[in-house]
Amino acid sequence: MKKYIFMILSLLTMLFIYACDTDKTVDSHEEHADAVGMRILSSGAVLTSYVRTDTAEFKAIELTEGEESPHLDIEFYDDEHEEWFVPETADHYSLQIVIADTSITDYEQHEGEEGSFEFHLHGKKQGNTSAVFRIMHDDHADFESRPLRVEVVSAAQ
């Protein structure tokens, strides 16, 4: 009798072990935007840029109080291919701008262009603040830039 009990227990053990072998899915690795620098352009002219630790051309952006900046484009530097690129919004990439003090400056994207890599900045009041630019991939940041200094000067200056 004891032998039978033992055999049943052993079988149950094996079943228990195999039953525990469930597969918990882990999302496979997606492609991510691999950027190590950024530049902001206005009508094709580079206003400010940096790549990796090279910040020689990473200049502050100057705005006038009460005025809107011209149309600005942002591009990023691909580390692997060593070239500038604009992430595809069709691939779930979007732009997010975080401004430290939105009472000094704020950004705007025209209707239908939300999340795209084009924007305007508004000089709201005199002062200095900073802006950080993110490449959002769905709901997470693949890239976060160095803080860019934004200076708003009075119209009289």
Binding site: K2, S10, T13, M14, C20, V36, E144
Partner: protein, 761 residues
Amino acid sequence: LKKLYFKTGIWLFAWALCAHASLTPSNNKPINGKVYDAVTGNPLAWVDIYIAELNRSASSAKDGCFKFADIPAGEFTVFISRVGYTSKHEHLLIQKDSSRVQLNIGLWPESYETETIVIEDHRNHSHLQEPDIDLSGKDLRRNLGETLAETIKDQPGLDQQTNGPAPARPVLRGLSGDRLLLLENGKRTGDLSATAADHAVTIDPLNAKRIEVVRGPAALAFGGNALSGVINVIRQPSHLTQLDVINGQATLSGQSVNSAFISAVSVEIPYQNFQLYFDGGYRQTQNLHTPAGELKNTATNIINGSGNLFYRYDRFNFSVSGGLYHSSYGIPPSLPELGHINGIDIQLNKNHSEAKVEINNPLSFINKAYVLYDYTDYYHKEISRNNFVDAAFAVKTQHASFKVDFSDLKWFKNTEAGVWTELRAFKAGGRTNTMDTDEKSYAAYAYTEMDFRPFLLSASVRLERKEVIPEKEDFDFRVGHIRKRIFQDWAASVKFEYGLTESWRVGAMAIKAFRAPGIEELFSDGPHLPSYAYEVGNANLEQENTLGIDLNIIYESNALFMKSSVYYNRIDGYLFTQNTGQRSWRRYDLFLYKMVGLDAVIKGFEYEIDFDITSALSLKLALSYLEGNLKENWIYTDPERQITDDEFTPYKTGIDEPLPFMPPLKGRLGLEYKRGKFSALYSARFAAKQNRPGRAEAVTAGYLVHDLNLEYIISSESLLQTIALSSSNIFNQTYRSHLNRIKEIFPEAGRNFKLLYKFYF
């Protein structure tokens, strides 16, 4: 299919062993007995009866009766002990032709009760295998914390590395991670707590019966990388104790500092040759309060449980176990300019199952042999804002081992040898780019002791091979050449002890250990928000090699125990994640951490004293100090790119550069008062200023905080109850631990009141 073959193979092997041993008939006998009060003649329950040579024990029931089944012929020493009675031992001779053995034992009451001892399993080790730290009974209740690390952090040489209240990992003599193995019931946990500061240890101390810290030769049985030692949490019974009645324990607790509610229960049910054990625990806490305010996103929810069915048949013991650990906890928000200002939520699940077959005396020169298979399925995900899964990790671990305990031979005692294999399948998802990788480890080890009293010696050796196999070969300019890596080497340790006089003894221990880099250390690449880091592995890492030595002197008399230890560990290629002090190019909000292997030395001392000033009053002091120094370091000109030997080599600093996350001088001074069933312990915890911070670390100020613990025991024939009221950081002082990853953001917990009620039945 391979896994199926593997599992089936293990079982066939176990069955073959059983079949072999069952061919030999058993001559074992039962022992029945009764224990009574020698003055009144009344039967005594709760008496612990222990047969030393067989390492088996039983406890007496309400009627004072106990029994042992299957005791072989031979000469034995039986130890009998109970709270309030003078312990004694009896010599017992069982002859081959004895049909049945009856033992009647009278115990003499002591004049007063000194300390209530909860009957627990006997430890299965000799004097040389004695744990360096052994926490059980009252000491365990007093120190019981939210995590394993918090529970043992005030023991000599120990500290905890934290990243919020939930993820905490013990640090022993400055070493943590894979160098300090964490075991539950002698088995590895199968979690990822060794790989990152935000990954929780999946052992809840709530149902622990005993916590042991073992160093030296005995530790190498568990891994060639156990340089610092092993911490073993004994939760399930070892079945050395043969029960006659149902017993168990239950715990209810609450505390103010995080509005915690804690409950646990464990029960052992004997039925003929079966013993069923199960336990469960539930822990719910809210945000932690500190003198600087509430530490947001630190609530915790943990449910865990385990079960074990044991069956004794002739010379065989069969055991099957299962367990689960489900937890959700938060990582506090970072500083505004770093990583995650809302905190990260982590959900963790672990399921575990195990089967073990043990055979007593299968051959004349083998006392015991066993084969063990266990399987652990671990998964955790890290969730940032808007329920986005930032990172997910899954690890499936299979482990099989075969161990033999040999009979004593002349000077050689407690000799054991075994083989061990482990397969780990690692998968990572989310934003982390660590490649899915398998890890295969194989090991063989042997341990023995030699007794030339007053000179005692123990030694062990372990051969180990580890293969790290990524799913594909690749080249990543950050991580390097991702490919299959093989590490193999030997580890050994020797320990001796010499009794100078009856009270004084000296000891020494030497160890050669090695540690192969883990999957994450080799191949990780990506932001890891809960660690506030952008982590980059190094596919070219080599193994870490260590030579360590430990010297100690011990004085032990009835009223005084003193122990002093000094140690020195030289670690070639010490593997750790180094904060480069530079921001990641991809995520400027995160600092870049790189995996490096650099030569280092860790040296220190520990001092411990336990002095009974009077029969009721005793003084306790534990003091630890260490220094960890790098002997070389990198100058990071281009930290994002993998540096190869052709491009750059570490420079020799010439001076000692402090290692990061090294504890400062710290200690605990306690004054204990015991009278009858009441005990009180006042403790002052202190640490000196850590003015030797590692690279990119801040100096941490010293502190002195005060704790108080009061406990009262209520015992009856069938029930033992303990009620403990304690307060930690009584004066609500603001202090910071150097090993807390978020010490710059928040200090340690504020004043806490805790009530702990336990009953044993």
